[in-house]
């Protein structure tokens, strides 16, 4: 086999798979978004964007991402640093911390619902301790902040580990000698983290952040379980256009808007954390 052709031949099956099951459906969705009947139009986008729920769901999605992702990043960095320092039990701790990864987002939402609902753990605990006389309904329209906090907690619990795994791998790639050099030249542990770990971790941070931010824009099941209609988000709106309102064109248009937002954020992250030429490990 021709050595120059071989790589292309080897990626052919994957390419075909992606073309058939990703690019083709994607093209169909795009077509749907830009048509009404057989006509090419931007009307779907106009309709979707001018609907009264669009600004709220956009704001909610962004707020949630802005609250959740930084906390997850900080937690994942802390946990990755701790894991990296462990001599014994490192794998065990890593396994335990990544357990939530194996739980589906809907299941995660239900677990947290079991904690926060009126007959949930939190209420039984609080009444057991005598803090409340009767169960509080945390997840009601009277408590919008509580709904937000519950969703954010569930998301943090559920999806921090994906960043952790990426960052642990990245930290492991940083040679020990850099830390020793920094120590000899007077950097405190915190300065070593800021001036050695963080900059050398940029490639992993890019990957982890892009993955998490994009997934944060796609938040759906956890919100559905905990907030229901109290906390509209973009994905929920897409769902309701498609299945409640039977308006596939509007759903497709909104999906493309989310895609656009994801691409913009991806580019921003790539740019912000880029590594100058010649500055890689």
């Amino acid at each position: 086999m021709n050595a120059r052709l071989l790589p292309y031949v080897l990626i052919l099956p994957v390419t075909l798979f992606l073309a058939v099951f990703f690019l083709y459906p994607f093209a169909l969705v795009a077509k749907q978004a830009f048509t009404q009947g057989a006509e090419f139009t931007f009307a779907n986008f106009r309709d979707v964007a001018s609907h009264w729920k669009f600004p709220i769901s956009l704001k909610n999605t962004m707020l949630l991402a802005a609250a959740v992702v930084p906390v997850q990043l900080a937690l994942a960095l802390l946990m990755a640093t701790m894991v990296n320092r462990m001599k014994k039990g490192r794998d065990l701790v890593l396994y335990v911390w990544t357990i939530p990864l194996g739980i589906s987002d809907l299941a995660a939402g239900i677990i947290w619902l079991a904690i926060f609902e009126q007959s949930g753990f939190l209420n039984s605990m609080m009444s057991g301790l005598g803090l409340v006389d009767q169960p509080v309904n945390f997840l009601s329209y009277q408590n919008p902040m509580m709904v937000f906090v519950a969703i954010a907690l569930a998301e943090i619990w559920r999806a921090t580990a994906i960043m952790l795994v990426i960052l642990v791998a990245g930290i492991g790639l940083i040679p020990k000698e850099y830390y020793e050099a920094a120590e000899v030249f007077g950097a405190s542990p915190w300065q070593r983290f800021l001036r050695v770990t963080l900059p050398l971790l940029r490639p992993s941070l890019q990957t982890a952040l892009i993955l998490r931010v994009v997934l944060a824009f796609e938040v759906f099941a956890v919100v559905a379980a905990l907030g229901g209609t109290l906390f509209p988000v973009l994905m929920g709106e897409i769902y309701s256009y498609q299945f409640d309102l039977q308006n596939g064109n509007a759903a497709a248009a909104l999906a493309l808007i989310v895609l656009g937002i994801s691409i913009v954020f991806t580019l921003v992250i790539l740019r912000a954390l880029r590594v100058p030429k010649g500055a890689t490990i």
Partner: protein, 346 residues
């Protein structure tokens, strides 16, 4: 002023003893080389002095202060790492200035010191580059400049030239020695390369299996090795050994020959450097096995009573394999070792 005193330092890793009871004093502004084969504990000792490793027992004093409980930054040291450890995400300028930034020196002072040391190391043209855009030799220079910029009392170097090619190594050797002499720092330099050690050191500490066998000037180590290990390790080719039996009254039978030696009444080893032998009418009788013309000299590997024996002769000599040679040792260069202790006998 920074005298370094290492007192009874020992280090064990689990059941393995990497250093046994090391005692060593390094004078102010001295260039001390730790020389030994790979795995003998050089790096471990250097890291204990730096504070990157903790000694199991013993004390380290620098400049009259006990430092073994202090973090590296409070010991007045700077270090050059074997793989340079030049930070890839920082420019050459920021690498050299790293320690100064950690000390929160004002910008113009950082700039002044970085430019001065970069000038010393001839890398002032590279200050804006990242380490990925540098050659190995240039990275090495950055690592040295970063240490010098700290204006430390003590500079510690762990095989700093071992990753460079031979020609560059020779060039850097001379340059480094010059720069360090200028800087008035005390230097500890780890290497396994005896040529490097001989050419750079004020004193060499020869290490073997976690012990310092001899600490002396290069010439002393070469001429008067304190133990058979040193005699065999230093010099290329190394010293020759032959078993000697006492004949009484300071006379010894060596290789079928009677030679003057110490007043001892037990078997010793006779030792002589290959270049301290001459072809003569009377002397040790050797059979030439391999003859290697090395340009300046002729290296002849011979056999004396079954023992390997090398002689470096003048390149004018015509010697063929199979020839029988009579080799006269230069009397004042003969050394004697006790085979039981492997130590030199006076």
């Amino acid at each position: 002023m920074a005298v370094i005193e290492i007192k009874n330092v020992a280090k064990t890793f689990g059941a393995y003893t990497a250093l046994h009871d090391i005692n060593l004093t390094i004078q102010d502004q001295e260039f001390m080389v730790l020389l030994g084969a790979s795995g003998c504990g050089k790096t471990t000792l250097l890291r204990i002095i730096a504070g990157l490793e903790t000694a199991t027992t013993g004390e380290v004093w620098i400049g009259g202060r006990r430092v073994d409980h202090l973090p590296p930054k409070d010991r007045g040291i700077a270090m050059v790492f074997q793989n340079y450890a030049v930070f890839p995400h920082l420019t050459v300028f920021e690498n050299i200035g790293f320690g100064l930034r950690m000390q929160k020196l004002p910008n113009d002072e950082v700039k002044r010191r970085v430019e001065r040391t970069a000038g010393l190391m001839h890398i002032d043209q590279l200050l804006k580059r990242y380490s990925g855009e540098l050659s190995g030799g240039q990275r090495q220079r950055v690592a040295v400049a970063r240490a010098l910029a700290m204006e430390p009392d003590v500079i510690l170097m762990d095989e700093p030239l071992s990753n460079l090619d031979a020609l560059l190594r020779m060039e850097m050797r001379a340059e480094l020695k010059g720069v360090l002499a200028e800087s008035n720092t005390t230097a500890i330099y780890v290497t396994h390369d005896q040529v490097e050690a001989m050419s750079m050191a004020d004193r060499i500490s020869v290490m073997h299996k976690g012990e310092i066998v001899q600490a002396a000037t290069p010439l002393e180590v070469y001429r008067n090795p304190a133990a058979e290990f040193v005699a065999g390790f230093i010099g290329n080719p190394p010293m020759n050994f032959l078993p000697a039996t006492p004949k009484g009254a300071g006379k010894w039978a060596v290789g079928g020959q009677v030679i003057d030696g110490p007043q001892k009444n037990k078997a010793l080893n006779f030792a002589i450097r290959p270049e301290d032998l001459r072809l003569a009418d009377s002397g040790l009788t050797a059979r030439a096995k391999v003859v290697e013309p090395l340009g300046a000299h002729l290296l002849v590997t011979c056999d004396i009573d079954g023992a390997l024996f090398r002689a470096v002769l003048d390149s004018d000599m015509t010697v063929k394999p199979g020839d029988t040679l009579t080799l006269a040792p230069q009397p004042d260069r003969v050394r004697w070792f006790d085979p039981d202790t492997t130590r030199a006998v006076a």
